[in-house]
Symmetry: C2
Subunit: 344 residues, 2 copies
């Protein structure tokens, strides 16, 4: 089976995905008899391109990474991402446009359109999960297609597929975790003596925090991940606004030093619990001690602990590994895994 | 679809499984249209029973748990476990006879027989995984059946299914972990000041360590789990003898106190690494510091960290949860999950 792939969004993650697909193309062919070509690419600032016979992906990567436009690769002029979807003749779309916490757009419209055109869809974007999970899942089913989103939390490390495939008929009672790497780096470095400002600058320097760090430090990135997990795992729509996060700006060096002296740590704890059918959620800094599964998650490590009626405390941890490639490649793998699991 | 189930071995885990199946029977029916009855039970010391129309499982549980024999429930006299398999008319067998590290018997013969009779098989027994994985997997395939073993390591917490379903086309480069709860409890309590003998007595009192603790403290339980993971995840046969474990008897209170003063801990570290096609394995006490994913796994917590070419350090941790039910129920869930994943 041959797949025409559309890449909507062509940032770090989508480009890492393109390289991963190329690197794994032989094993995809030998193990699952699947081949692919890239027939549509839509970028934020470097134009759009389609070619139903396959775009030169190496050329597209080179162009974008040297700040150039890809429009010259296209067999027809295109005004926007929607035209890429319509003219790509793709049967699988990867949606990686920038996340919009409040509306889920434009990802939501991209995905609706692609599903209506008969494409499978995988996204790393939390917006459409939070704002359209039920609708998109139902739409996909009605078209005989699949909508997946493994990379929406914990940066591509398997989480949704673990709960879906490895926990059959288990009842999820609660989860808690550390979902935001930037705040965890800041809190870890403050424990080593840095001020908040120094720690934030470091997180920005290594490319983790954005110039405007609001989304991370005020807890919104964590909150949308909590909302995405609640939405999918309990099939219960929830928005980040309902999570109503408290960020880490109120945590001072003095508070951290005092906690450290008592063998404790502040963590931006994400939690959700089902109590008598109600779901209680939270994102807020909390003191944890060494008996907590979250205590050992330092720096850019993130993780989640699930409590179910059968396996009580099961944790998944994505550890920091200094000096090794992670980040975009790991997030790209979540998209790749969705692709393989759908087409195999 | 209706399944006739044979329970070969009816100890703590198998009895927890029977109760779990009964507890989940409504959701199995409503979600997957699967029903079941127990048509064969073979115990170690309380006899054997078959009834193709279904045995009274509550009665069987009561009898065995009050030390009585179940033979009176049988529609025919049975000499041994093999006769239970032959006369159960089962189409799914759960194999939970006592593990034999050196030969894998009698589990190996039980499973061969069941597969040849057209049954699916799930086992919590590490013996047949280590001594027969390739053969049993091939035999199952040739009969259009499935052989699974989720509960063979990490007490029923999803591990094999995570690697199989959630890591498609990933290359496993190495794993390391803490696989034996008894030795981890002993080392944890020695860190709190107990002697080896006191800590061992505690582990025996809570039902974790056996009267003869050799299998745990000399590293053989850990070694067979390493062998099972290598055998399955790299499809490379390996025996616990090849792992050649070093246990914890050589670790003194003085060594532990010295390590603690340096912010380190001894852990019975299980490891395996693929280097240029060769697989290097080990089970031995090692000093770890707080940068290790194993450092925080205390008491009866166990876990594993996988390094792959795509997701670098991905850990699964099954945490101790004092006062909560775990143990047999969790191991039983691994068997239940195999069942659901095969029959759904």
């Amino acid at each position: 089976m041959h797949y025409n792939l559309a890449l909507i969004g062509f940032g770090n993650v989508a480009r890492a995905l393109a390289r991963l697909l190329v690197r794994k193309q032989d094993i995809l062919k030998s193990k699952h008899d699947v081949t692919f070509s890239f027939t549509g690419i839509s970028t934020g600032r470097h134009g759009h391109a389609v070619n139903p016979n396959g775009l030169d992906i190496q050329k597209a990567l080179e162009l974008v990474e040297s700040g150039k436009d890809i429009s010259a690769l296209s067999v027809k002029p295109l005004a926007d991402s929607m035209e890429v979807i319509h003219h790509s003749q793709a049967n699988f779309m990867f949606e990686n446009s920038p996340v919009n916490t409040e509306t889920g757009q434009p990802a939501l419209d991209h995905i609706r359109t692609a599903l209506n055109l008969g494409m499978h869809v995988s996204t790393a974007n939390k917006g459409p999960v939070v704002h359209g999970y039920r609708e998109l899942t139902a739409l996909a089913a009605s078209k005989g297609r699949t909508f997946r989103h493994e990379s929406a939390v914990l940066g591509g490390a398997p989480v949704f597929s673990v709960m879906r495939e490895a926990f059959p008929l288990a009842e999820l009672e609660s989860f808690k975790g550390i979902f935001n790497a930037t705040t965890n780096v800041i809190l870890s470095r403050m424990e080593s003596g840095e001020t908040y400002d120094e720690a934030l600058k470091y997180a920005q320097k290594i490319g983790l925090a954005e110039t405007d760090p609001t989304n991370d430090v005020d807890g919104w990135d964590a909150a949308i991940k909590v909302a995405a997990l609640v939405t999918v795992l309990w099939d219960t729509p929830m928005t980040p606004q309902q999570v109503n996060p408290t960020g880490i700006r109120g945590i001072t060096s003095e508070m951290i030093a005092k906690a450290k002296a008592e063998g404790k740590r502040y963590k931006l704890v994400c939690s959700a619990e089902k109590v008598n059918g109600d779901i209680k959620v939270g994102v807020a800094p909390q003191l944890v001690d060494s008996s907590s599964s979250l205590y050992g998650m330092m720096n850019s490590s993130t993780g989640i602990t699930f409590r179910t009626d059968v396996i009580i405390d099961y944790s998944i941890v994505l550890s920091e590994k200094p000096g090794m490639t992670g980040g975009p490649v790991e997030t790209a793998y979540g998209l790749f895994a969705d692709f393989v699991n759908i087409v195999k």
